[in-house]
Each structure stands twice: as structure tokens, then as C-alpha cells.
Amino acid sequence: MKETNLMAVQWVALQTIVAKEIRRFTRIWQQTLLPPAITMTLYFVIFGNLIGPRIGDMGGVDYMSFIVPGLIMMSVITNAYGNVASSFFSNKFQRSVEEMMVAPVHPGTILLGYVLGGVARGVSVGLIVTLLSLYFTNLSIHHLGVVVSIILLSAILFSLGGFINGMHARSFDDISIIPTFVITPLTYLGGVFYSMSLLPEFWQGLSRLNPILYMVNTFRYGILGVSDVSAWLSFAMMLLFITLLSGYSLVMLKRGVGMRQ
């Protein structure tokens, strides 16, 4: 009599989902890995090399060194989000999500698999952008633990956001609305290109409501040792949001929102 272990099945299923996700974004590398490399190189050339020297120091460092951490973080969060949102919605659209639904895969395994796929793409793009930045500036790491943990937590958080977006989306337009109207503005206003100290007090207070500001600044702290916000507050906020979004995603998955009739 054949016996099957629930946890063993979930472990193999998780590996399968992650491998499938990595296979997907590496197969279409021209759409997933190449564009951020080109865009970020342009940022480095235009803002760092051409405009940067005219700006001078920012936050106590030269402008190129100041923007590199922000641009790496921007790459990680947009790619983690985009990977999960587009992959999950595409699977819904083609109905291949049913392959998992007819199998003994726990909703938590599905969620974790997609999130890890998003983290894999976010971190891959982050590494590519970091390597490119080394051509333009010398990066030294102030606190490796902070760098690694903030990158992973940011990628996890935005992968969860992408998953929720993909789960609720009914058309391809729906998965571009949040990145265009929410993530991009928050990223640009999140201290990627300027120090918060440049802003009047009212706008500084308003900026403190922007979660991306905390990620960018904490990552910058890990690289340069300078930040506008507390690293501990950043970690606490991110863990809270990760918990909330994970819980919401699991409840929606169990209900089969957008998937089960």
C-alpha cells in the first residue's frame, strides 16, 4: 500500500513552483533582466555622471554614491512585484493555475512558491544593477546584515503585493495600474534621488508615511552608513506588512478568489 506524506508533497511542490518561476523569467530574460539593466545604466550615466557632479554632495556623500542604493532598491521592488503579478495573472488567464488547484498543493505552498519566485527575480536584477553600478562608483558595504535582510524583506513584501494584485486582476490592464499609479510615484518620492532633509518640514512629515522611503534609506544605511530614518523602525514596519499581506493572501487563496467558481 502506497503512503504519501503531506509535508513531503508540499516540499516538492514548493520546489516545483519556484523552479517554474525561475525558468519563466530566465526564458524571457529580454523582457525581465535586460530592461532594468539598460534603464539603470541610463540613470547612472545621466543622473550620476552628467548631472551628479553639478549637484555636489547629498547626505554627506557624492551624488552618484547617494543614488546607487536607491536605484538598486527600486530595481528589486519593481521586479519582485512585476514578476509575481504578471506570472500569476498570466497563469490565471491561461487557466494553467488549475494545474495546481487539482493537485494536493496547500494554498500556503502556492503563495510561498510565487513569493520566492518574485524574490529570485528581484534579487537577480538587484545583483545585475549592483554589478553595473561598480563601473560608475566604488561601493563599500557598511553593514552586510542590514543590506541582505532589507533586500530580502523588501522583495518578499513586494512579491506579496504582486500576488494580491495578480489574484484580484481581471485583465492585463489591472496588473499595470498599481505599478504605474502607486509604486512608481512612491519610489520616486521615496528618497531615491534626494535626501529628505532637502524637503520643507511638512513634506518631510508626509514622506514619512511612504513605506518605500524606509526601505531605500535603510538599504542606503547598509551600504553607506547614512540614513534619514531608523533601521529598526523599517524592519518592524516591513515585518508587520509582510504578516498582514501574507494573511490576507492566504485567506483569499483558500476562498479561491479569482480562481474557483
Binding site: T4, L6, K20, Q94
Partner: protein, 314 residues
Amino acid sequence: MQIQMETPMLPALAVHDLSKVYGNGFQALKGVSFEVQQGDFFALLGPNGAGKSTTLGILSGLVQKSTGSASVMGFDVNDQAFGARLNLGVVPQEFNFNQFEKVLDIVVTQAGYFGMTRDQALPEAERLLKSLDLWEKRDQPSRMLSGGMKRRLMIARALVHGPKVLILDEPTAGVDIELRRSMWEFLRELNAAGTTIILTTHYLEEAEQLCRNIAIINKGEIVQLTSVRQLLAQMTSETFVFDLQGNADKAPELEGYHAQLVSPDCLEITVERGQSINDVFTRLTGAGVMVRSMRPKANRLEELFVSLVRGANA
């Protein structure tokens, strides 16, 4: 948690008083009940919108039931979903694989969802793809396959984890006759090897050729649940088409039979239960009508199906 996969005394499928009301208020199922025994080859027939796919959707976990219960090999599809799904393979009506994935990857990935590692899945995937004539296409993206190949890919994908029960929702829709016959042979062999098979089909000949038991569903209710043999025994009459040697001016007078000349060289005769086809030949010969060939007007099950559905709609 350990799940035992074989429960030989239980029915392969059990559906009790199942109902489904969709969000738009449409009631697709109205208390459907039936059982499928292990090893059976079972047909679920019904016109479009009768509730076939909804029933199969509930069994496979793609549709949420409203009330009632459904189980696979004794495992409730909701409360014991893990056990139910391990035992079930599903071939849906519409293509539902990633069009950009390669054929072999689709099958091996599905095995992974059932807990089979790539090394465990590859030999089984190779065996199935070879049996279904798809091995040469293993490295092609699935969108490059023909319609028939895509249907066979879905069968390979559904079988890769070795399910005890296989559900096929119109597996041969849009498939040419030769391919359909080879798929029938594949399914017969699979059933003979012990897999319980449940299929829905629009080709009633398919149900008659393959299935031992049958449920006819109409407007969300079971109108007939019996064996194919018993169902055919319910036939009270059957119409035959006679191709004539030369032309006839009018239908010959055959007392006790309903005969109609549909063209100068083609005659339709309805034979009631208790009447003999030999008697028809004798009388035709006596009337000077020579017969070149003869065939049933329609598939026998088709005639019964139409009469049952009409009866239920009346």
C-alpha cells in the same frame, strides 16, 4: 500526516445530493446523486448546460459546491482534499496549460505538484508521452502542438502521478476519427489496467463503445442512471436505412412496419421490439425490392438519449 491511497471497498466516486448555485443565481445542479465503482468506465451524458462540467468541476476542486457531498476514493473533496486530489487525474474540456512551456516541462511540473521529484517524474513522463505519440514533441512549446496533440498532452499530464480515478471532460472534442479511435484504445487499456474512468462526451457512440455504466443528466438533475446494456434494452424501436439496388417508385407495403422512401434508392424502416429484421428482408425480397446495404439510422444510444432528454423536458 500520512494518507493511505488505496481503499478498495469504497466507490471510486460518490456524489450525494449535490447542488450548485452560481453567483449569478443560475442553479446548475439540483441534488445530483450517483456512485461510480472502482474499475468502472462511466459516462456522464447530457446536453450543453446540463451540469456535467459543474459536477466534474466540484469533484476536481475547481468549482465550489453549494450543498451536498462528493468524495473520491472515500476522501471528501472539501474536508479531505489532499487524499481526494492524490487519487484523481483531471482532463478538462478546454486547454489549460501554459502555452509557452515545453511539453515535457508541463508533464514533469504537474508531477511535482503531486510530490514527485523531477528524477521520479521523468521516466513516467517519457512512458506516457511515448504512449500518446508526443515524445518527439517533448521540447516544443505547447502552443506549437495541433489540437489533437494538445488533448493528448492533457491526458499525459493527468496520468503522470498514477491516479486511481481519471476524469475526462469531452476528451475527443475536435479530434479526427483516426485519432479518436487510437485514444479510445489507450483509454480501454488504461481501464483494463485498473484505472476508473469517468468521461463526458458529445459523441454518444463513444459512450456506447467505451462505457459500462452511464448517468444522463439534464437541467441539473439525473434522469437516468443505469448500465449501457440496460439502457439499450429500453429501446422499443430502431430505425434502419436500406440502400436499394435500383430505384423504387414508392415504399413497399410492409404490414406492421413503418416504411418511408426518403429517396428513390433509399428506404427507412422502423423495427419495433419483437419484430425481426430477417422478416423485413424476406418481405422486401417478396416485394421485388433488392437491398444493396443496410445500416442503423442513428447511433442507438443517441436515439435513447434524445427521447430521454425530450421526456425530461416535457
